[in-house]
């Protein structure tokens, strides 16, 4: 008897493709995405932090440090913007251009090697004369600045052995009273070898020394937020958009599903036998779905303003632009899903699979700064990523509406394409 019950249930599951996918494909798909995001953290594909490096010192020591940073595998260090067709040989970053780039979201962190660093690169205790590094960062990425600060200490230790030893010798002379002539000769010989080694490392002719000998605090670092200094939490607008868009996609899918309900009840036939064309009907459904999405996002952001003190009211024009285009794109997406599905159950299964995948890849579930470059690039194929990007520009970076060009172009054009596809697939509801 129990065997029959099991067999009946198995046959039902096997023939319900929606339930089958929800049971097996969806968990595996999600496991894979999480595996790519988190599982790679112990491998060489750990998400790397992009850092803009500004050398204000221009000494051998600072150049050695820059070269060390460029070699550091956990960083993507850049001393100048990438070359373009218009600007094939871009100038090196200055403190001002690097700060502007961080503000624009081109990189989460900039490191400024101060003038005077070469003369007094490291210190062994408080009160010692030393230059202070500046780390300018976007606190929307709370990890980047800490990674750069840590890597800076490491690089100083590993890329400048001669400088380290020389400074140690000077410290010894000052604090202990100096060496005997024999000791001084031996020390000078050792320093000469270290300088040779440092020169070889800088020239890239010796194997990289990745020994993690963190002495801590050898260089002074001052970390400064350059984006959102006065904002309460960088992640509020991020998740208001991220979570909002994810649920918008579900709502749009359900709203589009009313077509299936009406088809099943016969109401769709009745409507289409009146003076309503399929295009008019779909446009009506699209309008409703987009309006619903618009109101949902507005409520989400108003709630964020009320509870999390998001500065909503001084960003209303940008919010309206982003919300209108996001609502249009997700509504079109819902229409397409509904026109592809043949039953409500099928729609529920497909929409859950696609929406959760898009949300995971697009940054609705976990922040982009913990994703690898590849994952971030894949995320560009999702609405979530573009919507989050646009809302961050408005609410976090205080950028003007004209900066939303890429988001407007992508969301509007993809919305149009999806709607046209929905219209194409909806032909099955027209006269046969």
């Amino acid at each position: 008897m129990i065997g029959t019950i099991v067999q009946t249930s198995f046959r039902s599951l096997r023939r319900d493709r929606g339930a089958f996918m929800m049971s097996f494909v969806l968990p595996i798909g999600f496991f894979t995405i999480f595996g790519f995001v988190f599982g790679s953290m112990r491998t060489s594909s750990t998400p790397r932090v992009t850092v803009l490096v500004v050398d204000q010192d221009h000494t051998d020591a600072s150049r050695a440090l820059v070269r060390g940073l460029l070699r550091e595998p956990s960083l993507v260090a850049m001393t100048h913007p990438s070359a373009t067709k218009e600007n094939p040989a871009p100038a090196d970053y200055t403190a001002a251009t690097a700060e502007a780039a961080v503000r624009a979201g081109d990189a989460p962190v900039a490191l400024i090697i101060p003038a005077g660093f070469g003369a007094n690169p490291i210190a062994f205790g408080p009160g010692s004369a030393r230059s202070t590094f500046q780390i300018l960062h976007d606190s929307a990425d709370p990890v980047g600045a800490q990674v750069v600060a840590g890597m800076l200490q490491k690089t100083v230790m590993t890329s400048m052995p001669a400088t380290m030893a020389s400074m140690g010798s000077q410290y010894f002379d000052r604090e202990i009273g100096g060496l005997t002539p024999q000791q001084r000769r031996q020390m000078d010989q050792g320093l000469a070898r270290l300088r040779q080694l440092q020169a070889q490392q800088s020239a890239g002719t010796s194997p990289q020394n990745n020994a993690n000998t963190d002495f801590g605090g050898m260089v002074a670092v001052n970390v400064r937020d350059v984006v959102g200094e006065k904002k309460r939490s960088p992640m509020i607008s991020y998740y208001a958009a991220g979570v909002g868009v994810m649920f918008l996609l579900f709502t749009a899918s359900a709203a589009g599903g009313s077509l299936l309900d009406e088809s099943e009840s016969g109401a769709l036939d009745r409507v289409l036998s009146a003076r309503v064309t399929m295009t008019t009907l779909l446009l009506g459904k699209l309008t409703w779905s987009a309006l619903l999405a618009f109101v949902q996002l507005t409520i989400m952001f108003l709630w964020a303003a009320l509870v999390f003190r998001l500065d909503f009211f001084s960003h209303i024009p940008g919010f309206l632009v982003m919300t209108a285009i996001t609502a249009f794109a997700v509504a079109s997406f819902g229409m397409l899903l509904a026109s592809l599905a043949h039953t409500r159950a099928q729609l529920a299964a497909f929409s859950t699979l696609i929406i959760l995948t898009m949300s995971a890849l697009g940054g609705s579930m976990f922040p982009k700064f913990i994703m690898s470059d590849t994952m971030i690039r894949v995320g560009y194929f999702t609405f979530n990523s573009w919507a989050i990007s646009g809302y961050q520009k408005i609410f976090w970076r205080d950028e003007p509406i004209r900066s939303l060009g890429p988001e407007v172009a992508v969301l509007v054009s993809s919305g149009l394409v999806l709607f046209l596809l929905a219209r194409w697939f909806a032909r099955r509801w027209e006269s046969v």
Partner: protein
Amino acid sequence: MLAEQEKSEAVPARVLPLRVTGIVKRFGDVNAVSGISFEIRPGSCYGLLGPNGAGKSTLIRSIVGRIHLDAGNIAVFGHPVSSAEARADLGWVPQELAVYPLLTCRENLQAFGRYQGLSGTKLTDSIAWCLDWASLADRANSPVKTLSGGMKRRLNMAAGLIHRPRLVLMDEPTVGVDPQSRNRIFEMVEALRNDGTTIIYTTHYMEEAERLCDWIAIIDHGQIIAEGTKEDLVSRAFGARRSVTMHMGATNIDLAAWAAARGGAVQDFVVHCSVEKPAEIAELLESATRDGLEVLDVTMQRPNLESVFLHLTGKDLRA
């Protein structure tokens, strides 16, 4: 077949509520409709009967413009069925409850009225008329899901008439309703007919067709196999003969062949045949006894539409 009808050839096309001319619809290798032609007179109630799979639904969907025909054409008051004029003149009451369950009766009528291009006073007046016609005025603001089955059916009918069409197609409007509600629906249809509206009525219930329809077509295998008034159909099928129904006991004998040899048909050990005179029943009984058949009971009656349908299609209408 058209020549047999008592229809005036002189009726101009723009006055003729419906003219179906040689329509053909194929689905793959299946001929769902094979060259059907008929006309409907103004103000008549045209009954369309046919067993499941006969092509009735395809014909209905063709008339409401939901099917692209492979051949032939359909005109509503002289206009092609897909034209705006035809849509304005044609109302459709589908078999399904094609209304919005979460909306109230009034909201449903508003929606379908607007889909038909109504607005303002015209829409308001039409909603009031529909609610009154369907006896739903006191439930105007009730959501559909709270209505009884009969009320839902009446609202379904009202939604098809919201634009006050001159020709209404009702596809089994009494499916699943209790006898009392069915009677109310009959009264609605009769009231409509008395107002001069032309009606096409499909049903699986012979008594409905006999009560409401003044012209009946029987469709089978995608063709109209008989058409006329009820009396015409009975007379053509049986003449002066009476129909005989014989319930037989279980047997291994080929009952179908036995019935066919006597001009009849069999369904589930029930033989349907006809006799010229009542005395012929005795011969039938003797023949059955001689052939080893057990006759459980015999009834004789004047033939009705059910008998005609069975005679022509070999199937019970509700089979």
